[in-house]
Structure formats: C-alpha cells, structure tokens
Symmetry: C2
C-alpha cells in the first residue's frame, strides 16, 4: 500500500472515521485511497472554513476528533479562522494538509507557501511527514496528539510523494488511557474558601462542568454554601433546558460584567480562566475581577472536574436535596410583531427534545438565554474564539456527529455570509439542520462597539461600513441556490409556523427572520 492508504487505514484504525475535506491535486492519492479502505466517511465542503468548522462541531458532539483534508497553504489558510475557534474551544482535530512532493517544494511553484508557519498559530502539534514509510506513524502521532487531554489541534502536513510512494503498513495509535485526575489540594483549598466566605465566592465553571452532571453538582454546592455559580460568557457546550440547572453567565458587556463581579473576594476556577474583557476599551480594565479578589484554580481543562466537584460537594456536605427547583420564564408562543423578545420566545418554544443549538445569534440573541432555560432539554454550543462564520459549519459537523438529533443553527446575517457555503454540504448530506438567520441588515454588534470604544456617533461614511442593507441580502434565494429550502418570516406567527415545520420535517431548512 502507498503512504496515503497507510494513513487512511491508520486513521480508521485509530477511530478517526470522518474526514471533512476540500482536496486538491496534491491530495488525490488520499482521495484515491478512500476507494480501497472501508470505514472512512468523507464529507465535502465547498470552502475550507466549512471543513474546519464542521470538524469542530463534530468534536464537540462526538467527543473525538474528525480529520480534515486541506489543499496546501491557501487551503489551510481558508480554514484557519474556524481552527482558531476550535482551538479556543479545546476541540481535538486531526488537521491534514497536503503539500508539494518533498523534492518539488524548493522550486517555488505557484502554490508553494510556508505551511508549517501558517499552521502553528492555530495548532498545538505540527509535523511534516518526511517520507511514505513515516506517514502511518506520523498519522498515529497526530491522532494521539489530537486526543491528548485536553484535546487539541494536530496538523499533519503530507507531501504528495509521501502519499504516492510505497509505505510499510499501518501504525497503532498510542493513546493515553490513564483516567483523568484532579488536584486534591486544590479542591481542599476550594472547600476552605467556601467554609470561610462563601457569600463572596464565585464558582466559575466551564468545560465538562457544563454537562448535566457537572451543573447539578455546581448547583448543589452553590445552594448549600451560598456561593454564586456562573459560567464563563462563552462556552463550548452546555446542557440546558427543563430539569437542568440553568447557570448564569458572566455578561459580555464590560460594565455589566464589572457590576456582576464586583462583590467577589474569591473566584474558584473550574476549567475556566480568570475573567477578562472580550475587547479592550479606553479607560476600562482588561481584567474583570475587582481589586483584591483572589483567583484559585480548582481544575484546569483536561482534568476531571466532575470528580473534583463531587469531592467538593462532599466536603461542603452538599447533596442533591440541596438543589431547589429554579423559577423559569414561562414558555409563551408569541404572536404579533417580531421583536427580540418574541423571537426568543418562539425559539424557546420550538427547541425539540435533545436538540443541538449552535448559537451565533450575536446581538439578536442576547435575550435568548433566559427563556430557553425552560425549553426541552438540549445542548447549546457557542463560539469560543470570536471569529464569525462559526455557526453554519459547526452545525454541519454536529449534524454529522449526531444524525438522530435536530440541529438548530442560529446566526446573524453578517456572520452567516462568511461561511454560507455550509448550506450546500447540509443539502448534500441531507442533514437535519435548521438555519435561522437573523437579518437585521447591520453588523449591530459593531454599531454598539462603536459607542463602547468611545468613537462617538458614526457619520455617513462610518455607518456605511457597519450597515449591510444595500443591497438587501436574500438568504432564501441563496439557500435555494445551494439546495436548501427556505422561507422568510416577518411576524411571530409565521416564525412559529416555519420553526414548527423545520423542526418536524427531516433535512435542512433555512428561515430568514427579517427584523
């Protein structure tokens, strides 16, 4: 077998059996190997931002890495923005990038570029395979690197001759099967702080603490001790909906965040980080905690936060009986005009049980959090890296990971345009994704931030860089162009109906919510 086949067999053997791809000439032997190897599902994207975002979404729902297949430096470059988001979410990805044949690189042919240089900023592990006999072992090392705890992005660069030359066979992945651990002293320290001054203590959680089990433990600890439990502003995945603890998040707006955090003297971090502002603003702090507040790390990403929370709950004598039912906003099917409130209500009513909600609703979605706490149980995925064009690819990958769950992809019109090509892959694969585009015809978050950074009132030319209303984008037409049926709605009743139809019919749908 050649190097490409040895790699594909090593990937499948190592449990990496989905490949999101947009290949080119230098990757043709990898593509050819797909015909000879059973067990690899290859999913084509028409743009690399779709490919890498889908790998992120797949990881978040499946908990194991998919691979990508990208064409040389520019193909990797197109995928970097969503690799950035994946990196910040601690998603594991085996990111495979083709390269010219080793002997061809030095000739500076048109597509030559510094692929390792491009890969490093968004990867934890980068290796260029030197020859065909090394490819399988390098592939196995990439899988092991991607599956490290916490998982991460491993970029394997595959020169064309390492794919077409004869290989030695497949390689086994040396996985680290040790169970996740945590630092007992850090938990003891957390217990001491809660005993001493729980009222002024914030338990700030993310990662595995945002599973149903983790949230339940955090709620017990919070209610038993009187400490506050919050999630970071953005989170990779949160268990939400009826029967689950609805945890508050640190607000995005800096004034609100400072106000919410100002009483705390201690912050206990469960996989979270010392809270910082998303952006800097003139004359405002970068760190959000008040002066004198002490930050203590209880667990880091990649540690066993569930076990640590269980020990902490024991230490503070918290039990499931301490968790009192929360008061939720009532689910109301809205009527009348589309407002930020009625949109949120409609979505809360529509979320079906076990749904995956991918949230890039930006300003329109600021009010979605509370009403959806009462929705049917679901998972909520967010953008951890802030690079827009996140939702539609991540929804695509989540749907590949979980074919039996409905995916709701909520996205602002500005964000949707960065990776709109995702719709085609959704149609091609018949994925159960409802894309809901909030069409307010403006980068509204930038209009807000224009004020926040003290730039005053935008004049005509500045406004022109914020508004995307000229010409009006017709997302229903674009979706149709990519094989996804869609409809536009301008009133709450219509929106309810469109959601109902989209949730109950299989296959992809798009709803353009005209605000």
């Amino acid at each position: 077998m050649n190097g490409a086949e040895s790699l594909v067999r090593t990937l499948v053997g190592g449990g990496v059996d989905v490949c999101f791809t947009n290949p080119g000439t230098s990757e043709m032997h990898f593509v050819a190997a797909l015909d000879r190897v059973e067990g690899m599902r290859c999913v084509l994207g028409l743009f690399e931002g779709v490919v890498t975002g889908a790998a992120d979404g797949y990881f978040r729902m499946k908990g194991k890495p998919a691979s990508t297949l990208l064409h040389l430096g520019p193909g990797l470059a197109n995928g970097l923005a969503n690799l950035h988001n994946a990196k910040k979410a601690r998603s594991g990805i085996v990111n495979i990038v083709g390269q010219h044949a080793t002997y061809h690189i030095g000739y500076n042919a048109p597509l030559t570029s510094d692929i390792e240089g491009l890969a490093w900023p968004m990867s934890a592990w980068v290796r260029t395979s030197p020859d065909a006999k090394s490819v399988a072992a390098d592939g196995a090392a990439a899988i092991a690197a991607a599956k490290t705890s916490p998982q991460q992005i491993a970029t394997l660069i595959l020169p064309a001759d390492t794919a077409w030359n004869e290989a030695d066979g497949i390689a086994q992945v040396r996985e680290d099967h040790r169970p996740l651990s945590y630092c007992a002293q850090a938990v003891e320290q957390a217990a001491r702080i809660l005993h001493a001054d729980s009222v002024h203590t914030l338990l700030l959680v993310t990662g595995s603490a945002l599973t149903e089990q983790g949230l339940a433990l955090a709620q017990q600890i919070g209610e038993k001790t009187g400490c506050t439990v919050m999630s970071e502003t953005f989170y990779p995945r949160m268990a939400r909906g009826r029967g689950r603890f609805s945890v508050n998040t640190v607000p995005y707006a800096i004034e609100k965040a400072l106000a919410v955090l100002k009483e705390f003297k201690h912050i206990l971090l469960v996989e979270a980080n010392d809270p910082v502002a998303f952006f800097a603003y003139p004359n405002k702090p970068s760190m959000l905690k008040p002066n004198g507040c002490e930050v203590h790390r209880m667990t880091d990403c990649g540690e066993n936060s569930i076990a640590a929370l269980e020990v902490l709950a024991d230490a503070v004598h918290a039990t499931p009986h301490d968790a009192k039912p929360q008061k939720f906003v009532e689910l109301i099917k809205p009527t009348g005009a589309l407002t930020l409130t009625s949109i949120a209500q409609a979505i809360a009513c529509a979320i079906p049980e076990n749904a995956i909600v991918v949230d890039e609703s930006v300003t329109t979605g600021r009010g979605f959090f509370r009403p959806t706490a009462a929705a049917a149980p679901h998972e909520w995925l967010q953008n951890m890296g802030g690079s827009i064009g996140f939702s539609t690819p991540v929804a695509t990958g989540a749907a590949i990971a979980c074919p039996d769950r409905k995916v709701m992809s909520m996205v602002g019109d500005g964000s949707a345009m960065f990776t709109i090509q995702s719709l085609w892959t959704q149609a091609r694969e018949g994925l159960d994704v409802v894309t809901i585009v909030f069409a307010n015809k403006i980068y509204q978050i930038l209009r807000n931030e224009f004020d926040n950074v003290g730039a005053g009132e935008p004049g005509k030319r500045a406004q022109d860089m914020l508004k995307i209303d000229r010409p009006t984008l017709d997302f229903v037409a674009m979706a149709r162009g990519m094989g996804v049926p869609g409809r536009a709605v301008t009133a709450a009743d219509d929106f309810n109906k469109a959601l109902d139809e989209a949730v109950h019919e299989p296959g992809p749908r798009l709803i353009e919510v005209q605000i």
Copy 2:
C-alpha cells in the same frame, strides 16, 4: 488627532486612497476617522477573501497599492489565500490588520492569536505599531514597503490603543523615485546568445514585458532573430487582442510543456523564472527545461524590462518592421450547443474594447486563449498563486480601479463558491462586472489530475469528492440573493444574447453557463 486619524491621513497623503475592508471592534477608530478625513474610498466586503482579492485586482489595474482593513488574526487568516495570490503576482498592498490594545494582548481574550506569525508567510514586510505616536510613521513605512520595486505586501498591525490614543500628526512617505534600471551586461549576454543560436533560444517573458509595448519589442526580436517568444503559463496581466502580439504560453500540462521546451538550449528570462511544473507528478521532472539547457536572467521583476528589450532589439537590429501580422482564428459568433469551442468563440466575440478579463475559467477556459487573440483590445488577468476563489474578488477590485472599463470575470463553478460574497460588493458599488460561471458541476481539473498523479480510475467514493453536482448549484439564485441580476444559458445563442446584454448594460450581471 488620534492614531487612527493620523494613519488614514497618512494613507491618503501617500496616495493610498482606497481601502477594502471588513472591520471589527478593534478597528472602529479607523472607521470613525473616515468621517473626519476626505479622500479615502472605503469598500466593504462580506468576507475577507473578497477584501484582499479586490486589493490585488485594484493594484494590477491601477499600478499602486490599495489598503485593506482586517479584523485581528482570524480576519487576516480569511484574507490570506488571496494575499498568497497577490504575493505571487507581485502586487503591492498595504494590508492593515487590527489587534487588541497593546496592554490587552497578554490576557489571551478569545480573539487573541499570533497575528505576526499569520502575516509573515504572505507578507514581505510586517510591523506591529507600538504606540499612537508611531502609527503615522509606521503607515508611511508600510506604504513605502508596498511600493518597493517590485511592489509587495506590507502588513501593518494596529493595536486598538495605538488607534485611539493621541498622535503627533501625519507622516510623509519616503518613496524611492529612482528610475527603474536593468543590468546592461545581462542584455549584452542575451544578445550574444541570440547571435550564436537564436533558433534554440527561448525568450521567456512576463510582468512589464506583457504590456503592449513589451510584447511588440519581444515580437520584433523574435521575428528578426528566429528565437521563440513565450510567456509563462500564468501571468499577472497581459495586453491582448487585435493589433497586439499574441504570445504563446508555456502549457500547463506537464507533457505538453516538456514537449514544447525540449528543443531549447538557452532560455532568456525577462522577469520570468526558470520554468517549473505547477505540481509534482510521479516519475516526471519538476524542472521543465531539457537537460543541458542554460538559463540566463536578462531582467528580474522590478527592473526596467521595456528599456532592456529596447536595447536588445537594437543589438539584434530588430525594428517594428520585423513584426509581421499574425494569423488569428476568425471571430465566429457560435450557434447550436454549448461546447468548449462555442463558449470560447462567444467570449471572443463579446469582449468589448478596453475590457478587463479576469480569468479563473480553469478547465473550461483551456481553449480561450487562441480565439480571444482576435478579440477587441483588452487586458487579461490570471491567478499567479493557484489558490482558487481568485476571480470574483480580483474583478471587484479591478472595477473599482477602472470604473470606465467593463470587467469580465470568468470562473469555474467550484472556484466561484470560495468567494461568492464578491457579488454583493459588486452590487453595492454598482460595478461594471460580468461574472461568467462555467457550471460543469465537477472539480474537472482534479478529475484530470487524478489521472496525472497516477491514482488510476476514481471509484465511487473518490468521484464523490470531485463532483459537485449533488445538489446542483444555482448561481442565478445565489446572485439574486446578493443583488446581482443573472441568467442561466444552455445554448450558444442564449449565451451570445446574455453576453451582449451584460456587456452593454451598466452594473453587475451574472451568467451561468450550464455545460
């Protein structure tokens, strides 16, 4: 004035008066400064690949750099593929990238990444401005770097506090006004070679030698001495059409290239490079020249090739009288079915005088070169970096540069999907661009390359990664969704009519050629 305003004023003062942009929060002070500074045309793109490709197209037609404005690392990342193409075309661009405030970078907020690391692979000059008082001087240095001969990509990274803090004023650009030169000895050497063995000598030209004047000189030299004149396979810009010397190009297909070059004992390079294969193929050479062939550089990119060709023409006693009229394929308005031949004929007939043709027609366009030699005089722009998603952004920028010329953007369906968002900017700015999408529903070049790399006959799974026919892409619907009127054609008569209408009506149009 603040740093942002000092930069915008420095740009305008330095002749950089067009900014292609997709800004974010960290760039809001730059956007705000637009309201206070006259003379900067800001053009919004909905995706950064549009922004950087437009800057490339602008440079190619205007001969001077535009600026970009991109949002942090991910915004730059999205623009890198077309920066790669621009770099390989030797286009000058002042590439401005926002950054977190200097004091905020260390906090690792979600959008933090290694911006300099991302910039270097596609830039010749990179600088992060350290403070507001340095921004104007750094901007002036970036302009000077972009305008270096040969021109290049200069990336200026602008931390948010350098934009909002108080600056000292604007800075002057220290331009190098020395006239372009060339190496007299290299020209003498070229003359000696032509005297000794012109029949086995190839004059391989690109860059400024592909202007009407450069081509005329090359033709005289070729016809006087009997040497062969060819252009590199791909070229940044070529003067073509009736009355101009139609130069052959080195074929893309490696067997054809090897066959065409096999008789040469000398290759004289005029800005060109020693010819290499676009990709490596098993058991085929990377270098295309035959064994024993000597390569001599006459001029390099950034030298005065016109003057050098004039001296060489004198040395071989070539005059305009030596240039005999070429035989052109007759212009025939096709009828009947759409075939590769009839498509080429229709385009050759339709090209209006002074048009700018941006060519990413890939496999469909392989036969366009000969018939269009007889078209009305026009300029032909090609992709120098091989990263697809080139044509629609470059056409956008070319139209901004030359509002009085019709732009014809020819693109394969696969390529068109990478940067389809360009259509919206074309509609917004009312640009005279006709986008012609060749919809063959397959990455046909990859189907060919699958054979070329010796991967055999693609099976079902491999074919699935090459074909984009499921679902069918409807480009007319997508164009309508972005405000561009379009029509699909399936026969030559329809195509003629659609071209005629699109060429004669102002504003953007799209034609989907269904093959």
